[in-house]
Amino acid sequence: MSRREFTQAIDFRHGRVDMTHGGGGRAMAHLIEALFVKHFDNALLREQNDGAAFALPPGTGRMVMATDSHVVSPLFFPGGDIGCLSVHGTVNDVAMAGGQPLYLAAAFIIEEGFPLADLERIVVSMARAAREAGVPIVTGDTKVVEQGKGDGVFITTTGIGVAAPGIELSGDRARPGDAILLSGSLGDHGVAIMSARENLALDSDLVSDTAALHRLTAAMLECAPGLRCLRDPTRGGLASVLNEFADQSECGMHLREEAIPVKPQVAAACEILGLDPLYVANEGKLVAICPPEDAERLLACMRAHPQGRDAAIIGEVTADPNHFVQMSTRFGGVRMVDWLTGEQLPRIC
């Protein structure tokens, strides 16, 4: 396959990234070929042009494009790593706009001295996630920064997809009376990351929920084409998504705490750390808003899908000039679920 001759194989066991790997010369070409092209292997990438050119599938309605940068710390965490996270994150952003993702682009900013073994592990994980999602990584970029100017590796992925004609999802489409659905338990990703951080010795079997959701969204759109809003509650969690919807749609939201699924490990960790699961990040969950008459059908469709097994109807959209998100607590009172203040957990994705 290679037209170039490289005199020495890259030492992926003990070697480290150095400045030449981002320098545009032979070392960079070698790394791209022996690592990225090898693992991401697909026809478009193999062409090794600066960009990828492709035709759109017939019957395409609108195109969807999304991009996401990943700076998670630590790079490897229970249930995933920055590699698969960077694929899932962008696939999900395309899916939440009603698109079926077609292709991904990936840009790496790598710190000088970063172990090549770790880089390969990340790339292999990305390749597997892309393969499983059926969304090839067709173009990319590699930059190396001096030691101390980065933190291991940052990955930006961009996705492109197509939405079928008639699909119109947007955060401003919620109407009073609409149902609010959640695809599964809250906070798994955030708590898995926290428990992997060294200064918090939480011993838990919890793993991140990082997953691509485009097959779930495709099933949901087929079952309920009148779906109004979709969003994945990543940083800022469920609370932030609902406040965004409420502001965009100029309405209020009312949740029932007892309907919101939270795993006991997550509830316990949040208790210890003083966090609220409503604000903790997820990487494999979505929030949907649909007309009330579609709610039960949509719920059944979600529950029939592996990524929506624990889905629930958690509340409804209300008329509220203040655009407040409120919640009936399990205890019997009502509280607001406000915007997140400050930053709850830095570098969560």
Binding site: T329, G332, G333, T341
Partner: protein, 379 residues
């Protein structure tokens, strides 16, 4: 979640609420102050007000350690942090408290100061061990609950012979502040107190007895779970109805009459009473704070860096003082929700999640603003 869910049970809450509603005298009002921010937070987060009869009014007290920290002390901390080579460590909320000149520790950090957020004071000690060539100061705040760990790290630093670690002590005392509220707030009629939870695990229930007797007000020590608060309200209503003013302990699963004697001894070994200390909102309160004893002077940042005790006036638009004294409800402050929000706090009550303003803003502002507090005394 075992041992937690039991204290958040909705059915039990409704049962208790019915009992409270049955026992209150609808012809009078019950103005109860929860001293601690932990209670304020629980009341707001679980929507307790929705379960209580109209006769009961909960007044938020000054028991939020971040909220009562005076501007002058934050200014001093920022000055410390700006010293070349110095690392200032503190708990997360402290970093956002507004200081003079629109500064805060988090802004000082953005301007280049080395300010680090730690989860425990032990982390600060570890940083001092890892960076022996740099001065490390732990900016210590908090009531009796956080004082023992600070005492422990000072003793550890002494045992290790660390030369680069010191503590800027701002530890304050609960009973002194409670007494101050009763002494100074003649216009405020408080009928009873929900007593501190975690603070009482350290100091025990005994220190409140003199208070209850002197001011003729019942005190019920309560845990931070919502059912604890409901139960303590019921106990207070019963005492008030009978004209009693006793100390009762609802939080018996954690609080004993004598408290944690070992922790008290540790604090006593390292700290001594200050003659006076300025609290935000309350002003100078006698014998209300702790300084580091001479025996540990080497670990006292105030002496090591010659930090003066300075008094800086609170922001004029801010009603934090009246709110901390229980004279005003957060919604009665002109700046609330307009000039002062959790993102851009003017006063400290808007900073910590335990602060009365932040709790009301975050959880309760969909409610109508509370009525003005009564002015005449009823008990």
């Amino acid at each position: 979640m075992k041992y937690i869910d039991e204290f958040r049970d909705g059915d039990l809450a409704r049962g208790l609420a019915a009992t409270i509603a049955r026992e209150v005298d609808p012809a009078r009002r019950y103005r109860l102050m929860e001293f601690c921010g932990g209670h304020t937070h629980a009341i707001s987060r679980y929507g307790l007000n929705d379960l209580l009869p109209a006769a009961i009014e909960l007044i938020h007290g000054p028991g939020c350690p971040v909220c009562v920290l005076p501007i002058g002390r934050i200014d001093s901390a920022i000055e410390l942090a700006n010293r070349p080579g110095l690392i200032l460590c503190s708990y997360g909320d402290t970093l956002r408290v507004p200081a003079s000149g629109r500064l805060s520790l988090i802004k000082a950090r953005a301007q280049g100061a080395d300010v680090r957020m730690v989860y425990s004071c032990a982390e600060a000690l570890t940083i001092a061990q890892q960076e022996p060539e740099r001065e490390v100061v732990f900016f210590a705040i908090g009531f009796e609950t956080t004082t023992p760990p600070t005492a422990v790290v000072i003793k550890q630093a002494a045992a290790l012979g660390l030369k680069n670690f010191s503590v800027f002590s701002n530890h304050v005392l609960t009973p002194a502040a409670m007494a101050h509220i009763m002494e100074s707030a003649a216009s405020v009629s408080l009928d009873g107190f929900i007593g501190p939870a975690h603070v009482s695990t350290i100091i025990g229930s005994r220190p409140y007895e003199a208070f209850a007797e002197r001011y003729r007000r019942p005190v019920v020590i309560a845990g931070f779970e919502p059912l604890d608060v409901m139960q303590s309200i019921l106990l207070l209503v019963r005492q008030i109805n009978r004209g009693q003013a006793r100390v009762e302990n609802e939080f018996t699963r954690a609080v004993t009459p004598d408290g944690n004697v070992k922790a008290q001894a540790c604090v006593d070994e390292v700290f001594e009473l200050r003659d006076r200390f300025a609290w935000r909102g309350l002003g100078e309160v006698a014998h209300s704070a702790l300084a580091i004893r001479d025996a540990y002077a080497a670990y006292d940042a105030e002496r090591r860096f010659d930090i003066p005790m300075r008094v800086v006036a609170d922001a004029r638009a801010c009603e934090c003082g009246a709110i901390l004294r229980g004279e005003k409800h957060p919604a009665q402050c002109k700046a609330f929700g307009t000039g002062c929000t959790p993102e851009h706090p003017i006063g400290a009550c808007m900073v910590s999640s335990e602060g009365a303003c932040a709790a009301h803003y975050t959880y309760g502002r969909f409610r109508q603003p509370a009525a003005a507090p009564a002015t005449e005394s009823k008990s």
